[in-house]
């Protein structure tokens, strides 16, 4: 009994030093098991950099080499024919296409299959923002032109130019890009808003697509997008959305009705409640204790207790704790998902 109590107490300690070391390891070299992240490496880098920012370590990083790597992934207009494949512009997720490193963003030739991915464009610009870059090497025009071409008639966004999926996640990315660049010329706000409202389900949360089950991740993307577009007040059932969100708390949060708790929803649901200014209505202690119970001995957070930690859950675990003002972790911006320096 005593041993059990002792163990529980130990679990509730926030292992800051271990987290820092654990995350930094990913920055240096990622193990072979992560090679299926090859094409999404930018998202990994985002989780790592933004986590270290929340842990107060970002100024100890070699910012220049990170920024150079990010800019190397920018897909630029064709140097001879700027219109050719302009819709491919933005960022790719890593070096896998085989281009030379191009941190200074020198003009290049475009290629049909060297295309950006809207989520990579979002996290790439987010990393630059966190590191205090001045966007001087960003080709804003090309990014916004490409963005515009990704919006479909129903208001949703494709991830890449081509035959590909469109859903709430990509609409959210489009809004983040527009907000960071402070230019909404790439988004038809009226259509986008209509699309989001059409995806509100009978449970009052939002599905990833219209007609689909309410889900914490897509509900966050829906609400944050509306908030960034200034159309959050077009939701007619705000109180009911709040009740659906609040009901997701079991100890930590679940993502769907009658599912299991998962560390990352303390961000998705938490940020959604923040957008409505009702975050304080949750039970902080239970949420914090659940998140801490998924900590690894050597740092990092996992989806559940006693399974392997990963950068995504580590990052969103930190964000959730930050919302509750725990352990001096600063709060992330509930719309953009990372910390904005005042």
């Amino acid at each position: 009994m005593e041993q059990k109590e002792e163990k529980k107490k130990k679990e509730l300690i926030f292992k800051k030093k271990q987290h820092i070391e654990w995350i930094k390891r990913f920055l240096k070299l990622m193990p072979t098991e992560t090679q299926d992240y090859d094409s999404n490496r930018m998202t990994m880098l985002y989780f790592v950099v933004s986590s270290l920012d929340l842990l107060g370590e970002v100024d100890n990083l070699d910012k220049k080499s990170i920024i150079d790597f990010v800019y190397s992934q920018q897909i630029l207009p064709d140097k001879d024919n700027p219109e050719k494949y302009i819709e491919n512009c933005g960022f790719r997720g890593g070096q896998f296409f085989g281009r030379d490193e191009n941190p200074q963003c020198q003009p290049t030739n475009s290629h049909l299959y060297d295309h950006s991915h809207i989520a990579m464009t979002y996290v790439a610009i987010a990393i630059l923002t966190i590191l205090g870059d001045d966007y001087s090497r960003l080709n804003k025009n090309a990014i916004l032109t490409a963005l515009k071409s990704l919006q479909l008639d129903d208001g949703s966004f494709l991830a890449i130019n081509g035959i590909y999926e469109s859903d709430m996640r990509y609409l959210y990315c489009a809004c983040c890009i527009s907000k960071m660049l402070n230019d909404w010329s790439g988004v038809n706000i009226e259509k986008a808003t209509k699309y989001i409202l059409s995806a509100q389900s009978y449970e009052n949360g939002f599905g990833l697509l219209p007609g689909r089950e309410s889900h914490g991740g897509s509900t966050y993307c829906a609400l944050a997008s509306l908030s960034m577009m200034g159309t959050l007040n077009q939701i007619s059932s705000k109180d009911k959305v709040i009740e659906w969100l609040i009901r997701r708390q079991l100890t930590g949060f679940e993502g769907r009705t009658n599912k299991m708790v998962d560390t990352c929803y303390s961000f998705w649901i938490g940020a959604s409640l923040k957008l409505f200014n009702v975050f304080d209505l949750i039970d902080f202690e239970q949420c914090s204790n659940f998140t801490l119970s998924t900590q690894g001995d050597y740092g990092g957070f996992a989806k559940w207790p006693d399974i392997v930690q990963d950068p995504l859950h580590t990052y969103f675990g930190l964000c959730g704790l930050g919302f509750m003002k725990k352990f001096d972790i600063p709060e992330v911006d509930p719309e953009l998902g990372f910390r904005i320096k005042k």
């Binding site: 990913f26 920055l27 070299l29 990622m30 193990p31 072979t32 098991e33 992560t34 090679q35 299926d36 992240y37 090859d38 094409s39 999404n40 490496r41 880098l45 790592v48 080499s65 990170i66 790597f69 790719r92 070096q95 896998f96 296409f97 085989g98 281009r99 490193e101 290629h111 049909l112 299959y113 060297d114 295309h115 991915h117 890449i160 081509g162 035959i163 590909y164 999926e165 009978y202 449970e203 009052n204 599905g207 697509l209 007609g211 689909r212 089950e213 309410s214 009740e243 659906w244 609040i246 009901r247 708390q249 100890t251 769907r256 009705t257 009658n258 009702v278 209505l281 039970d283 990963d310």
Partner: protein, 319 residues
């Protein structure tokens, strides 16, 4: 981060088929952030992939190589785009592509790219004949797989496969009345993706259905959410409303620790449109907030207190 199965690997550089290709290595140093320690096989396959991708080769061997790249990293969105290009140029029979996808999705049921590709293939084939049976197999592994349900919804709507679907969904309820994906599917099918939401016959049928499940298990948010959504949109006359509300009031007495009857009644008592808006009922709703916050739903203590303050404000303003 998935462990890949070990498959005996013959280096491409040893195969005559690839002799004419000059592989293109990934141009970066291990000093770059989040560099990956690639396996030798991963590196070699990608080096050849880069070479044929850059020259846009549409060939049988290119198709084979995309299969290899997908096996090593099925999240690579570029390889799928390129593969579609190859399939189109070579006019490959897409039924074989569907056979291939059956296997890939079985291995990676939660990957976005594989399901997207399946939509593309089935759209091109203009046949959804295999989709119901295929998603059924995916449900054996995870009956709440969001991708599989989403794909099934898409196929049902696109190929008009509504027949027999309600019966199919019923099987999930036999095992688990709290199966929220099945409830969401029920809504999708019963209303034909919202089109029949305002049909009074459907509304009454679904109110009845959800109430019958609540009668079996009161503490089930899925059934309550479903019931409340139809209760609110249905054009019920006052007698029908009264019958339903009185049933829930009885339930409230019988299951006094269950939070759902009370939270339903709070809604009904405090909204003018149901005909229960009175001083007495508002006061009752306030006591329900207390019961929820102190006894029945304590994790949402702060929320029920917040609701209570809202109700007290209405009480003060209106009476």
């Amino acid at each position: 981060m998935e462990k890949q199965e070990e498959i005996p690997y013959e280096p491409l550089s040893k195969l005559p088929e690839w002799k004419d290709i000059q592989p293109i290595p990934q141009k970066e140093s291990l000093k770059d952030p989040c560099a990956i320690l690639y396996s030798p096989q991963f590196s070699e396959v990608m080096d050849y992939f880069r070479a044929i991708l850059q020259k846009k080769e549409y060939s049988e061997r290119a198709l084979k190589l995309t299969t290899e790249v997908i096996r090593l990293n099925c999240s690579n969105y570029t390889v799928w785009e390129y593969r579609r290009g190859i399939l189109e140029h070579l006019k490959i029979d897409l039924n074989t592509e569907l056979d291939y996808l059956d296997k890939v999705i079985e291995q990676h049921p939660k990957n976005y790219q594989v399901w997207t590709h399946r939509v593309w293939v089935t759209t091109k084939l203009n046949s959804g004949d295999r989709e119901k049976a295929f998603t059924e197999i995916a449900f054996l592994n995870d009956s709440k797989n969001y991708h599989a349900w989403s794909h099934r919804f898409w196929a049902i709507e696109y190929f008009n496969l509504w027949d027999g679907e309600l019966e199919f969904i019923d099987k999930f309820f036999e095992n688990d009345l709290r199966h929220n994906s099945a409830w969401a599917a029920r809504f999708f099918v019963a209303t034909q993706n919202g089109k029949l939401k305002n049909d009074p016959k459907i509304q009454l049928q679904e109110i009845e259905f959800s109430l019958s499940k609540i009668n079996l298990t009161c503490n089930n948010e899925s059934a309550w959410n479903y019931f409340i959504s139809f209760f609110e949109i249905a054009n019920l006359d006052q007698q029908q409303i009264n019958d339903l509300v009185s049933k829930i009031e009885t339930k409230k007495t019988r299951h006094r620790f269950c939070p759902f009857p009370m939270s339903f009644l709070i809604r009904v008592y405090s909204d003018k449109k149901f005909g229960y808006f009175s001083k007495e009922n508002l006061e009752k709703a306030i006591t329900f907030c207390d019961a929820l916050s102190d006894e029945c739903d304590t994790i949402r203590k702060a929320y029920w207190n917040y609701k209570k303050i809202g109700l007290e404000k209405i009480l003060k303003e209106e009476f």
